[in-house]
Symmetry: none
DNA sequence: AATGAATGAGGATTCATTCAT
DNA sequence: TATGAATGAATCCTCATTCAT
């Protein structure tokens, strides 16, 4: 694997584990056993690494969202999709933490765009459920429910640092479903789960 | 007001506003228009300031929790209490953010204890509601609901950066109630709100 | 003497001797036997030191020029004034060198202003001599003479690195006078010189 | 054109435009769209490039000076020669700037030799004029005039950054002539100019 | 000839912290 | 209590240079 990719991978792992603010560019170089100069040959600095990871995440999320047709998707397909989405977010979780603690001038424009995308996607999901007469929530409460889903989707990233990522992703998805459940006209048919 | 207290107040405000990681001890001294030496006369460093604020928060939360008798409290009293609790958390909100981004060796033991307290309190609240036959949730789902309440309670701190703190606190409380609502046998009678 | 002033003095000496581009901020700190941190306590960086020296020079030159009344000044007074002016330029000579080699974004706005001042002063000096019927040069040639005086005044700074500053200043002044001499209607009466 | 020559040409252009101190070896490679390794294949480093340019300049100036017979040259031939000489200096002007700002250990031995050559040539020119009874200046003043011519010849390089090189060269030559003019017994007959 | 990844020393700058007064 | 100059370690970053291919 190329050095550039190794830098991205290692940085992502370290950022996720210790928080991007606690990792210096020298830490990354040391971990990779390359010289600081080499790191700067591939990226202008820590910020550019973060920007790149941010772009990757945006791309991955964007691709997933673009592929989904909320009108046409089956329930079990939705479940698979939701797992994929959460898995991506978990993979880049440090971005979502940075959003709250890293000062704006530093590159989190991308992460902010992501937030907006995810937030509006959450709202659209609920609308789609309602059009199918699966969901019964009045206007304002629907917005609140969307907010809650969104917030929970993010905060779960920060706290569920359990065993494997797969397990965590499944728990996260179930957590979100459990928020919607009480408002459904019937239980969703989610293959691969017993919710 | 004594210098020591002014340091605490100003630090808290700056930490909440910019994130504790983005504030240096010189920033605090400059804001207070005191010398760095004076700051260090009162506190060994930034960490000790944070520790002190953390203790204050623990104390405030602890006092609130100790005063509440979940078995005996009325519904409108609970509402008042919930607002107080959230207000305290909002007041020290940087602690909850730091929890996720500041590396463990630095002083967040206190904040972690806080988390545990709040988490178990959330669970107890639900238990109490159930004993009063107000809530209908089965065992595992109750735990999940408690988790959700707890996570939402925290994440709201990070995102609801609206107008006044009072408004934010009220919104936060309603947000939490809306999570419990679908599982109640009857609507709660919360004075001062139309939930 | 205060540390701030010592930094300015030492920097000026080192800049003049080795060229500002060849002196690092650590060099200055080492020469003064202070820590790099201390240097940065007094000045944000090398650039701010240069800016300050530039301001000092502008001020010194500005004061001299403001005091001179070209119409009323006697010949021997002019000689004294010219020596003072050249002495100041020599004292801050690195500024004039930087002008040619340091890229514009870095702070030499001040030095550029200085140039303009000195250039227009040179032209005014010749005009005054002509009004007194001491100088006989036609329009375009007068401009060229002014240019020559100005250029020579500067380039002498860079090359006359002889013995004492006093001697150098005197040589510089005579050099300038010798440029004007052939065009005078009579020899100037300059006390303290045998030109 | 071979790579080696392209490196020299591009370096010269960049050094003249931005000052050699502000150009890194990577800048040169980037401008040429070659790899840094390739640059170092042809030259050991920036210094060797400068040395080579310096040698070229020395050679060009040396050839010009060697060809001139100050005793026998006609006035109009001298004018042509002077333009050639200044053109060469202008072409390699960064060398003359470096002389003043680049620390000695780095390669400007050559440039210093050049200076000496040019300075003594200036003196010889005046001597030749005098032998032909064209110039009337006494001993010490003749030296001073030579110095002035030399200094002005150099400083003009740094400041006359006007339109085309041809125009600049002509202006420079006229500037030098104007310094000598007042001391001539009769006007020189310089073809191609109206001095 | 040419590439481009890699090195490492050095320079700029920040900041928590100390200390004499 | 309070000052503010001083320290020094840590960090970020640049750049001349090397080297395997």
């Amino acid at each position: 694997m190329g050095t550039r990719q190794r830098i991205l991978d290692t940085s992502l792992a370290m950022f996720n584990h210790h928080g991007s603010a606690n990792i210096t560019s020298l830490d990354i170089a040391a971990e990779l056993e390359i010289s600081p100069g080499n790191l700067y040959y591939h990226f202008k600095g820590k910020e550019e690494i973060i920007n790149q990871l941010s772009k990757e995440c945006e791309l991955a999320v964007g691709t997933l969202l673009a592929r989904v047709d909320l009108e046409a998707i089956s329930e079990s397909e939705y479940w698979v999709f939701l797992l994929s989405l959460l898995r991506v977010c978990l993979h880049y979780r440090f971005l979502f933490l940075d959003l709250q603690t890293v000062a704006p001038p530093q590159g989190n424009r991308g992460a902010q765009r992501l937030m907006k995308q995810l937030h509006s996607f959450t709202a659209h999901s609920l609308e789609a459920l309602e059009e199918k007469a699966l969901l019964q929530v009045k206007g304002e409460q629907r917005e609140q429910l969307a907010d809650n889903l969104f917030l929970l989707g993010l905060s779960w990233l920060c706290f569920d640092s359990g065993d494997s990522d797969d397990k965590a992703v499944e728990r996260g998805a179930q957590r979100l479903i459990s928020l919607v459940n009480p408002h459904l006209t019937r239980q969703l048919n989610l293959a691969g789960t017993d919710q």
